[in-house]
Symmetry: C2
Subunit: 181 residues, 2 copies
């Protein structure tokens, strides 16, 4: 047991949706006092750094309702029940970009918002990708637009705040640090 562990006294389920659930835990703190923790449960997600043979990065633009604006991001999506992250990465890449890859490598995983959510994102690198169909999303409530950009163009999109999320910014740094483009 970690010395700062917070023991659960009671869990109150508040909401169960199609993507997230919310619960409030009453916890016992290390000093014996009590407090409440608001916790979002999420199935986990994958994202894909997809590089074309001419060293471009495939990105998708989509509307993000939580922000009331569109964002340009690496292709991503949540895990389906029972789905392995690598299978999910291959599925999302094909659904959102119409591309397949022979070489899908797990490069990192990270929690996105550990203060209130358990969402874990698994990042994959897809090289030697091949277009098999026009980019069409299989999720009926997703509308995405494909982009192929150089790393310099991606960094410009970041300065313009069209790229503005942690996983995509981490991905661009990863590409730079590892000389992938």
């Amino acid at each position: 047991m970690h010395k700062f562990e917070e023991k659960t006294i009671k869990t109150e389920p508040i909401f169960k949706g199609k993507v997230i659930s919310l619960q409030v835990d009453d916890v016992l703190l290390p000093d014996g006092k009590e407090t409440k923790r608001e916790i979002i449960k999420h199935p986990g997600a994958v994202c894909v750094i997809a590089l074309t043979s001419d060293k471009k990065i495939i990105l998708v633009e989509q509307y993000r309702k939580a922000l009331e604006r569109p964002l340009v991001e690496v292709p991503a999506g949540k895990l389906e029940p029972g789905e392995e992250p690598e299978s999910s990465a291959r599925r999302e890449l094909e659904e959102e970009t119409g591309c397949r890859t022979g070489k899908m490598t797990h490069v990192q995983s990270f929690y996105t918002s550990p203060g209130f959510a358990d969402e874990l994102v698994h990042v994959y690198l897809a090289e030697d990708i091949e277009r098999v169909q026009d980019g069409l999303t299989a999720d009926e409530d997703e509308f995405v637009e494909l982009m192929e950009v150089t790393i310099d163009e991606a960094e410009q999109l970041m300065r313009e705040e069209r790229i503005y999320d942690a996983k995509t910014m981490w991905a661009l740094q990863y590409v730079r640090l590892n000389g992938l483009v």
Copy 2:
């Protein structure tokens, strides 16, 4: 208006807590169909890449109830109502590490989980830091332990998955890419 914009038909407030709120929006999709979006509202947060004069990085370990485990992270915290991000960064740095800095620079901001939450994290770089007191958190329900590590030690913590969140991983890449240590 963006071509993929999702028009709100109805917003149902579900929960309002001390950190997050949850609402479910009925939205009109670009193709005229309707769907629901589960949305977490968050006040926003700051984190600080704090570098000592001998090129070490100050990190804090704390228990994360949402994950039921401790994480090692850059010092961070949520914005108080009406608080400017830079003031928040200075406050969190002092509360969690007992350090002050003459030089606090905004280096990046990003959304952490744009699929379901509007949390925006502002990242600051604190150089020339000075210890003014022993690290003691001002928030009564926060227990943190201080660490000072080299970049190599931080990257080892990452491989051991003790560092395991997006903002801290982004911060370590930023430090590497910009030759700050």
